[in-house]
Symmetry: C2
Subunit: 366 residues, 2 copies
């Protein structure tokens, strides 16, 4: 089904991203438009595009980068309200399944899908399987922040509502690896989300996790800053925020909702009077820059961590700009060999001495 | 110590607010300034002001409302880093203790303090005791929202990191009562915070709580809308958001941090170019209105619910405007007889038929 790709002799050197064309709110045209934007910026990358060939081929034919896009025919589509359990049983032949399968079969480096998060995680778990040493995979998101890199990483934001101390330690390792390879931070600062920074605050498992993460910092190539609070998520004291998927999901949606509320109030303020409408025109360039800094489309892409293969979940509502951002994140991670580096980091949880002796200890080399 | 107040013959009809003058970041002068603003707007209210008399009397003497302010001498002050357990053992004689004691002794209707949250809750629990029928008291906050009343209520935001299903049901009852008496909503809509609105999502205790809150809605005089997500906290689909104190505290601080980040980016955008600086001047009136809608000082005041007496925790960093907002919230709640109405609501958790038969069922009368 996806054998076309092997006809490209440059396969060994070129990056291949596997993209689910279906499942986004704006349909496959928005996906192909975003793909074309990303393709223009990443000439050394090829793409597998999964979905009904009859729908996709005419769309791809109009792209300036059609030669680098291989359509993989998959007739069926996972709907937003399909239950994960149904998709696990009956999902073969869907564009989502086919997208993940290409990573499993090593025909692509990283997968990108706008589809239903629960179904995408279920299919990813089923086909890619968990990395050795990982108990619970996590979803990591990017968050606009005061840091120089412009973003922080938070995980888990919804793969699993539970996380024990050992899971949180693994999240710290995985999040640090993502920060190095996705945000180019040599030695990311990792914090554990709590209701206060004092040692005695918070749930018992957080105190155990606090100790475990502290001990893992050397091997994980990160700096552990201890407990952080909700206000630090958009702040500049930490690069990676570790939490369970329940708390992380609530925090993510609360932050998005609050930013959206302030943005709407701001638009209302500019429409309020003739003077303010003139002001809006004068300030347009500056406001566009502001908008870009906090535009959720720029940080589009929740990354599934802890599987034998990396999968990026794009927002269902992503337009071409959002899809392009998710694909470019995939290219960046693939270029850095992220999947293999992450696997190497989490593979040896109980051999920190040996790991450090191999020169992989304090230097943040992954 | 606080016997002066009994010399006011109008005590039976007048509202008295008990205020801790110490413990705020800006010192007692900011508290007295805020008190004067609130006193001007609430002529039927008297005030007890607790702290070192030698410090407070000169400040009060300069207020236009000095005649309605009784200084209660309390030499000692609870520091921001005092442990709650220390304050419980040794707190007698502090301004915080004295402030709560005035409510306990029925010399004041409601207490307001800017001090250390943990210590304030500990002293409040110790001296006021939990209401019959309440297992865990909660802290409720106001949150800027798209609703017509301009705010939503969320609880618990940090009294206790745990909450079982029965606690969450009590939070729903208490939050609804606060919404009626604090926001004048006759029949508030209550939602339970979760990671999705589908029935199968979230932790087991949330499903039990979902059923219990649904059953309590009639007696509690509220409409139960079911599960809500983080994005609904600033939204218009719900008035009261119920959650455990860990999740609520993270959400509150994440929302505050995000709003502050967007505000700072906005200020930077207006300073960016000469044109944008002109625009800032033209849009000033509109931007001031915007600022007012999201100004955290306007929603200053976490309310402790579930005790024999109502205590309002003002932000430690509150200036005169913030202190005035917290005091005015106290006056509104006192005017509505909130403490007694809340107690009546939670007193009879297992007699809903009887309660409804008394005409206290569907009408939201408290």
């Amino acid at each position: 089904m996806v054998s076309d790709i092997f006809q490209t002799p440059a396969r060994a050197k070129r990056i291949v991203i596997s993209i689910d064309a279906m499942g986004g709110d704006h349909g496959p045209a928005a996906i192909v438009a975003g793909l074309s934007v990303a393709a223009a910026k990443n000439p050394a990358t090829d793409f597998l595009l999964h979905g009904p060939a009859a729908t996709l081929k005419p769309l791809v034919a109009r792209s300036a980068h059609a030669a680098r896009i291989t359509v993989v025919d998959a007739e069926r589509v996972v709907a937003m309200d399909d239950k994960p359990s149904q998709v696990m049983r009956n999902g073969k032949g869907t564009s989502m399944w086919s997208t993940i399968e290409a990573v499993r079969d090593a025909q692509a480096d990283i997968a990108v899908s706008c589809g239903n998060t629960g179904a995408l995680m279920a299919v990813s778990m089923l086909r890619l399987r968990k990395l050795a040493g990982v108990n619970r995979p996590a979803i990591a998101c990017l968050w606009p922040s005061r840091n120089v890199q412009g973003f922080n990483i938070m995980l888990d934001v919804g793969a699993d509502i539970r996380a024990d101390a050992d899971d949180l330690r693994q999240y710290a390792m995985m999040g640090a690896s993502y920060a190095r390879n996705g945000l180019a931070l040599n030695r990311p600062r990792v914090g554990l989300l709590n209701v206060g920074t004092e040692d005695h605050k918070g749930r018992a498992e957080l105190h155990t996790a606090d100790e475990q993460i502290s001990q893992a910092a050397g091997r994980g190539g990160f700096e552990y800053v201890g407990f952080v609070e909700g206000g630090d998520i958009p702040g500049d004291t930490v690069d990676v925020i570790v939490t369970d998927g329940f708390t992380g999901n609530v925090a993510l949606k609360t932050g998005e909702g609050t930013a959206s509320l302030v943005g709407d109030f701001l638009r209302e303020a500019f429409r309020a009077t003739p003077l303010s409408r003139v002001a809006a025109v004068l300030a347009m360039a500056s406001l566009r820059r502001l908008n870009k800094r906090i535009d959720p489309r720029r940080v589009n892409g929740g990354v599934f961590l802890g599987l034998n293969g990396t999968v990026i979940k794009s927002h269902g509502s992503a337009d071409a700009t959002g899809v392009a951002a998710a694909i470019r994140l995939a290219v960046t991670l693939a270029e850095n060999g992220f999947t293999e580096r992450l696997a190497a980091r989490v593979a040896t949880p109980d051999t920190s001495g040996q790991d450090a002796a191999q020169g992989d200890g304090e230097n943040g080399a992954d």
